[in-house]
Symmetry: C2
Subunit: 625 residues, 2 copies
Amino acid sequence: MKIKKLNAVSFKNSTITGGFWKERQDIFRKTTIDAVYKRFEETGRFEALKFNWKEGMPFKPHIFWESDDTKWIEGAAFFLQKQRDAELEIKIDELISWMAKTQDKNGYLNAYFTVVEPEARFTRRMDHELYCAGHLIEAAIAYAEATGKKEMLQIAIRYADLIDRIFRIEHSAAFDTPGHEEIELALVKLYYYTGEKRYLDLAKYFIDTRGNSKKDITYEFADMEYVQSHLPVRDQTTAVGHSVRALYLYAAMADLAMETEDEELLSACKALYANITKKRMYITGGVGSTYRGEAFTFDYDLPEYTAYSETCASIALAMFCRRMWQMDVDGKYSDCAEQAIYNTVLGGVSLSGDRFFYENPLSVDPRRNAFNEFRTEEMKEHLPILERVKVFECSCCPPNLLRIVGSIADYMYSTDEETIYTHCYMEADTELEVNGQKVILEQRTQYPYDGNICINIRSDGVFGIALRIPGWCKKAKVYVNQKERKLELHKGYVYLKENWKSGDEIVLKLPMEIKTYRANPQVVSACGRVAVMRGPIVYCAEGLDNEDKPLKDICLLQEKEAQLVEVNIANLKMPGICMPAIYTMNFEELYCDGEVEKKEMVLNMIPYFAWANRGISEMTTWFLK
Amino acid sequence: MKIKKLNAVSFKNSTITGGFWKERQDIFRKTTIDAVYKRFEETGRFEALKFNWKEGMPFKPHIFWESDDTKWIEGAAFFLQKQRDAELEIKIDELISWMAKTQDKNGYLNAYFTVVEPEARFTRRMDHELYCAGHLIEAAIAYAEATGKKEMLQIAIRYADLIDRIFRIEHSAAFDTPGHEEIELALVKLYYYTGEKRYLDLAKYFIDTRGNSKKDITYEFADMEYVQSHLPVRDQTTAVGHSVRALYLYAAMADLAMETEDEELLSACKALYANITKKRMYITGGVGSTYRGEAFTFDYDLPEYTAYSETCASIALAMFCRRMWQMDVDGKYSDCAEQAIYNTVLGGVSLSGDRFFYENPLSVDPRRNAFNEFRTEEMKEHLPILERVKVFECSCCPPNLLRIVGSIADYMYSTDEETIYTHCYMEADTELEVNGQKVILEQRTQYPYDGNICINIRSDGVFGIALRIPGWCKKAKVYVNQKERKLELHKGYVYLKENWKSGDEIVLKLPMEIKTYRANPQVVSACGRVAVMRGPIVYCAEGLDNEDKPLKDICLLQEKEAQLVEVNIANLKMPGICMPAIYTMNFEELYCDGEVEKKEMVLNMIPYFAWANRGISEMTTWFLK
């Protein structure tokens, strides 16, 4: 059976015109691009690209700093794609000029392995060399596409060609595959951009060689699962190890499965996807249950307070989903991508756009952090922080957020020969091609705050439109030119095929009920508890909205009586939820036999992504019910 | 106000004749004494007492090994007190002869600081030197009392005199107070035994100097709270740091408060007791919420899965309670002692008597341990073990269990001028003195499995009897010679005063209902859950009795419908509990909106102390309700 192969409609074809993502992109354009730039500048990350560090100077380049730089360039380029900015381009051009000046004649380009340990090039699998190269390639493509300037692209291609020679042709490196996956994704992009099949071949080489190499090792402290090298990738069925590495790999496997029509690889992807979403994913779309190795652990192990749930891992999960839906038209992938994006990914950045979380716990207890703070170093436990910060030592998440927010419209549409598929809904104007015709679609919606979506067709033509009906919505209605259509759902999609006229209007009504979700009874930490969602948004409660009552004790009553209320956090308006609940009247004793006194209250909840924007407070997502 | 001062009735005055403790003491006599001896022999712990180790030889003495040896001697001596055993005494006499041979002329006696680092004597506060001395003193007294043999006592006295000179008189050591409290308790005992006030003075010196010394330090990895040296002891109101150290200190403070009628010290003890029992104690009477420093953490922090709850800490808690009730006649202390003894302390040893837990978690998830087992060392988390083992590196708990089980009758009675106080109930014949008269009491009971207690008075005389009514019992009845007495409860005690005739019989009926307990709503891990107790015994469920259903998901229904059933574990019969409950039918998805399907079941529970005697299985003590 031939693998289905939808065409991804790039964000470049869409312009976000309003609604949720306009608000967010505006903040990112105004604040985040610059905020990340400043922090990277202050910490010497950009300076590293000058390749002039010498022993004794400050800011010794770190092995992964370059990837921060190029990820920032890529993210900035995504915003430039929609709106050029001379000042910003000057900054980027300067960085590129440094790279151009310092690239080796043979194409090699890496700050650490040029100024710190030049003799160690391509000798240490775990030192992020190919990971940095991957981000360089992706940034170069993005910047070329956004501005037409190709200097960085030429740099990237020269480097990619060197890597191809060293790894795929000569096998002359000390290892076979990258210790941190990412370049595989970049090489597929470079193949798309240049049409040069050797880049796809190199991606395939890296993917196929993983778990099959005798040269590949891992950190001394880690196992081969940590780097997904415990088995050939086709034999992998459970998501293991470092979760960002894992999901970059799985996304690249999906790319390769599609490009090479490799069913075996596709079924590995499906198995991994099933394992993640049925056994190893937080309801926030977070993955990675432990900070030890930033890793997946075991089925149903989803502790709230110590969730690692790295922002980057959920970005990578969304990337994986987006690739999967091109081969397997099933609404579950969009559901999962939205779960990751609207909760963990957006939770990774402050509403102001300039502060970040690396870890995204599902509950926090500030008492524990306060106690921990005053322990000696050796007595401290690893705990997620309670407030977002401007920069991390390992600062992969902030520029990764720039990338996904800048290119969020990537998640809107795909096409095949005759059908346009909608995936994630957002307000944008899009120009795309289907059935040989150019089609303009204007999507208008306040999604995910509201479930009404209006798609105006601004072109004539015969083609299908497949509308994704989110899994959480059981009462969706579709109207074409105000006439309700009978719905027939195929794996989460409703298919319309018409002779469309410009001015036709499709209205999708997705009633957004406030719902409670139970976790599988094997999830120890969630037994007896529910999470509250409305549409794709998980709600949480913060102590500061609830008189600092012990949140874990609060027991929800009827969600049918829950009400939406507009809340304003950091000058952004959003729907909050009030729900009737009961709590236990505090008592003096530690243990009490018999009935305890309960009292009614109204629990105030806000979207999970908006937590920790108003100071330190207890927070939880799983409530008694 | 003068501090009340009851006379402790020593276990030496009682003989356990049947019931729960006879069964247990028989196992300990038959198995545990020898099992611990063998393990200590195998691991070179006894060999260390020969003081002939040299570099290159196996079994390099560890700084605390001697305390294991002497604690074993003390525990064995408690059993010898009731039943001499020539073979056992030969073993002990041999150990003593080694000590006699190797004790310094000046009285110094410590293996590590004789054969490994003799130059470091009395220079390192954190190296357990005085802790070992304390256990040596206690063992010496116990052995002298049990056998009349005084060689070890002479050794101990010589050493105690040296310590008195070095620390209290000359202040010539590099530190002022022990890094691990224990010798304070021993010195009070030595004062009682010898009548020499200087030992009490030395205990007082150590206690008063703690937190007031400029010479005292702690481990590099720890803070002064770890060793309770952050404040003068009179200013301490919250239980902090290493929990065994803490409770040995508090017990010694109580000793001193009583002996010196120090009200300030008594109020510190009361504050510490209140903090522990109202905010920092597991329902099993376990203390120490983290393995990091084996320590108390913060109020209401009582995680189940990572509870440290060291066996020794609960033994020490019981010791503290026993001292407190001599000064403050309040049933709460006996309640707490029983909670510690019948749950955590007894849970620390297998029913067979030869395997031990150091940590006593309230729930275990074998999936987590299985995952952890295959992680690399650096990726492992600290988890309590799932099955008891024969010996630990740090083997303080096994001989400590010997001590408390051997001397359990210490917990039965106290007296003042005119009244006999009963505290913990157990079947024993006791001879004591009150109001100048010798009184023989025969207590007959299956407590804690049954709440009927019959006390036969075998002497004539006028005296009071104060019967402790456990806090868990609201419907106690007291009969004297079959006539019910009206109860008037004073802080958990009912006072009878009569002209007793030999043959009089007091019957105490304590109906043992199966009860559920809620924790304070500030205890995060217990919200929405209950623990099940019957009398002082906490019940738990093991997966193997419950078809391996996820225990955390099981929701109890009416405890009124709970039934007692006899269970047989490791050839011991005990009351189990069956309680109607519901569980969630497993579903494939990770998260499920709407109602989930529930099914009825009967939850089978056993006493917590009996868990992990039948192989590895999930276990929990806190159930949904």
